[in-house]
Amino acid sequence: MINLRRLSFLALLLVLASDALAGVLPEDRSDVLYHLYDGGGVEIDGPSILVRKKAGKSLSFVGNYYVDMISSASIDVITTASPYTEERTQWSLGMDYLRGNTTMRINYVSSTESDYDASTISFSVSQDMFGDLTTLTLGYALGDDLVGRSDDPTFEANLDKQTYSIGLTQILTKNMISTVNFETITDEGFLNNPYRSVRYVDASSAVGYSFEPELYPNTRTSNALGIRARYFLPYRAAIEGEYRYFKDTWDIKGHTAALTYIHPWRDFTFTGKLRFHDQTGAHFYRDIFPGSEATNFRGRDKELSPLQSTTFQLKASYEFLSDDGNSWGFLKKGKVTASVSMLSIDYDDFSDLTAGAPLGQEPLYSLDADIFQVFFSFWY
């Protein structure tokens, strides 16, 4: 069934690619970014370097190198395990091929951790239509993950992921552009976290509960529909609204909405963004189970709990080199950007066990994190 669906989707990609009529390749550009996440006992930082360069009139190549250096003493870790440090390295290579109004893309991503290897290959085709007012994009990605355990070299499990996406970008008026994206993701394989545990009532324990390994279903399929629209205000500034509806076979339903305001001033551009996310919990999620192995599937990952998250982001960019002919050697334009995001997550059904309160009276956990980004961008 899946193979038939994959074949028909690839056939549709090829039909679209063959219907070529003049699109534009992405600009030659490099970005050097430093990121820092600090919150909930977790600190993650590292670089991300992205380089994009055209080769001739119809090809553009892109490469990205990204590192997460993780130091974790999160609530999950300190409840049932020991703090740890870890490094994740990711690199990707991609190519865009432009033929008439059609752009075909291929991209390969590889991510490595001491206990988790992931590789994804993705294809997409975009077609500009109706005097370039409309761009239709179809995409497919195939991921192959290998899950391990740092405390058990013999443990090895597979996870396969397939992503189908369709997107439509539409110029609506002289002042407004919008985009609609629909994405279906199917997972098959080992989906739980090998280190995390669930909590169950245990009268023989002094605290009234014990822990046992979590057990997730082996499959998950999710659908997400996202809509965005950006509007040029009567003065030189823009406002953007976005909304996403999410639903999966684990009974998680999510609503995500965001409002962004962009205001340029001289060589600066200031951006403010407010994002809100609300979700229900997975059907096999419990903060505490009534007994050991009480249900077929069980999980206590706080990401699967009903929750609300709010993010407020402020971003400022300064263009220190303008595209006005006064270039620095081969560089045409340069920009530096700094961004701070304040993330706050309230969990509706995940208790804070570190508080030491008696069973049934534990306070609910909440998380506050600061996310910093600084990056230099160069056009050539």
Binding site: D31, S48, A118, F130, K174, N193, A224
Partner: protein, 80 residues
Amino acid sequence: MMMSNRSTGRILPALLVLLGLSACGPIEPWVKPYERDKLADPIMALDTDAVSTSYMQHVYEAREGARGGEGAAGGGCGCN
């Protein structure tokens, strides 16, 4: 027979809409190229900084139960 009538009832309006659309001829761009100066302003770019956008998407994917539908893909796990 009832099914046939119901099917005809659904198909006929659809055919009429298609015929109506085909009578309009090719769709003309309602925003002409010379009217797109504001849309070409960098502040109207939907994804100005891909390197930053994909990082934030990764942050959210690791901490929320929802994923996808945002038009650009993250990668890897990094969520243990």
